[in-house]
């Protein structure tokens, strides 16, 4: 069985924990997020005939990204940059977190997750902002942790990119 470490990055309240909760049934309490700064969950996917166990590191997000424990990013095989479509500021934070992740984890696969698709009419982020990310080679996916839209596909896509299938 193959194991892969995935980090969930993003500003506070962009929906990282909700996305993970949509994807797995957690056994650890969310209090770890505010104490240790990370909550870890596990999900095993069958990908092209192989079992891949994803260790999901849901890293506590604050708008002040300096407080993010950089060491948690170490050894990640991929990460998700989660943005709240209704808050433009989260896009800027994602840029910074992306740079930090690249410095710590290296050039590993990642996806930009535009969350809260269920609130699309209220989005503050336009295509121009997303193009900026695309210039860095980022693939953008739209999700809604509330409705489940795009959640499974996002993790599957990142996993496929990580194992190179």
């Amino acid at each position: 069985m193959i194991q892969k470490k995935i980090c969930m990055l993003g500003s506070f309240a962009v929906g990282k924990t909700s996305l993970v909760a949509r994807f797995v049934s957690s056994i650890f309490s969310e209090k770890y997020l505010t104490t240790v700064g990370v909550k870890i969950d596990k999900k095993t996917l069958a990908m092209d005939g192989k079992d891949v166990t994803l260790m999901l590191w849901d890293i506590y997000g604050q708008d002040d990204f300096q407080t993010v424990q950089q060491s948690y990013l170490r050894g990640a095989s991929g990460y998700l940059l989660v943005i709240d479509g209704t808050r433009r500021a989260t896009l800027e934070t994602a840029h910074t977190l992306h740079k930090m992740a690249q410095e710590v984890a290296g050039a590993v696969p990642f996806l930009v997750v535009l969350n809260k698709a269920d609130l699309a009419p209220q989005w503050e982020i336009d295509d121009k902002g997303l193009w900026k990310l695309a210039e860095h080679g980022a693939a953008v996916v739209r999700t809604s942790a509330k409705t489940g839209e795009g959640v499974e596909e996002t993790f599957a896509k990142l996993t496929r990119a990580m194992i190179g299938s």
Binding site: I2, I40, K42, S71, A76
Partner: protein, 590 residues
Amino acid sequence: MTDRAVLPPAPPADGLPARDDPDDLTSLRAILLGPTEAEIKRLRLRLDDRYSQARDVSAVLPQALVQCSSDPELARALAPPVEKAITASVRRDPKPLADAIFPIIGPAIRKAVAASLAAMVESMNRSLEHSVSWRAITWRLEARRTGRTFGEVVLLHTLLYRIEQVFLIHRKTGLLLQHVRAHSAEVADAQMVSAMLTAIRDFAQDSFRTTAQDSLEAFEVGELSVWIEPGPDAVIAAVIRGNAPKDYRRTLQDAVERVHLQFGEPLASFDGDAKAFDAARPILEGCLHSEFRSGDAPRSRLLPILAATIVIALAIWGVLAWRQQSRWSHYLAALRQEPGLIVISSGRTAGQYRVSGLRDPLARDPVTLLAESDLTAADVAGVWEPYQALGKKFVVARASRILRPPAGVTLDLHDDVLSATGMAPPAWIADAVRLAPLIPGVSRFDATALLRAQLDTVVRQIEGVTVLFARGTTQLAADGDAELRTLAAAVRELERLAASLGRTAQLEIVGHTDGDGDAASNLPLSRARAERVLQALEPGAMPHLTILPGGVGSGDPLRHGDAEADKQQNRRVTVRVAAGSLQPEGSPGR
């Protein structure tokens, strides 16, 4: 002889071939390029020949393998075909591979068995040590109070320390490489624990801004502590219950060093597949230590002896009790099978077996059955109340004791009717008929067989009597009176028996004369002699008998001689019981 196609033509004076002569050009090309073309052709043939290719590759393959033996790509490339080859070989015939690994497997199995036995013996010793003592009692109470098993409570009180789990964690990613645990240790999701341990280490390191060399080495949670021993690429974490000695840290350090020594390349190139680290299990299992508190030396020696003595005594007592119980069961079964005995209750009181019930006086004495079950009268107290069994055997025996049948008379019982066969005096028969209904199990006495036997005797007696007469008269001969009295008595007995049986009989009295005189006088004389006997028999007092007198003259002589003795024997009267006689009373024959 030369050939232009083979030998090039002589060159012209300027050394160049003639431009317009194709043969010359061909010859020139053959001279210049012929060897090269031949070499190319040879090489092409060699490249197209698979056999040659195989030979060339086989010549350089060993050297190539040696040169790239340190390249992990080679191991990765060879692994799938080697695995398939081994799998196919084992499926085809597992014996060669089994023979090959036998020298490894044998010692490994012996070592595993020895380790299991040692653990079992240690466990038994601990159980014995703590099975009989005041401390054990208090621990049992604690186990009941806390809901834990006794074993868990003993473990908690006697445990100095036990390494319950050992994790091998990839340092950079926090992913679990391998995990082992002690028997019965409770384990959460090892992968999650591995990741959280890494996160906690990172958290501690980042929070206190320590250097990379200064990392979290241990933390305590309740009864547990976690010791972490980092290496360059992997970390070993041991979950410890109790207080491990300080030198256990050295064990972890050795393990980390061995892991890096043996798995340096897989650690450096780890990409999430932990399969290579299955081989690290023995190293981690070597870290699963435990140590228990030993009790007082004298007690630890005495208690097992005491426990063993108790166990042996209990075993002996059990065997003896089982044997005695088996004997008792056998005795009860024998009592229940014995006719004339009814077991009502049984049991054991004050160390003695007790049985009570009913016993026919004619039944076998229960005491005599004790010996057959290896019991003595002292072992069993029996209380038997008398009763009369109604089984055939007992009824017949009881009737024999009461009626005392004469010798030759045999009693039998059928449907509550007592019967007898043989010859019995009438008085006994009369007593039997009177007394038999008073015997339990007998409704009446059937004397038919006895009376029939007597009837046959009387008939033979009557027909055996010959009454002789004087010559030419109806006067009895010298012994005639005695014969006549005998006959009369037999006929009276016949009348009595016929009356008893409810039957009737017909007797024919036949008179005879000797051959003297003529037939005209002899026939009336013979009839007169029959009448003479009839009168003596007093037929009026015999209602069950029909007696018919008759004479045959000299027509049926007993003897044919002319001597007086012969003639005397012919002057006679005989009595015959008619065939078909002795019909039931009221039948048409009467």
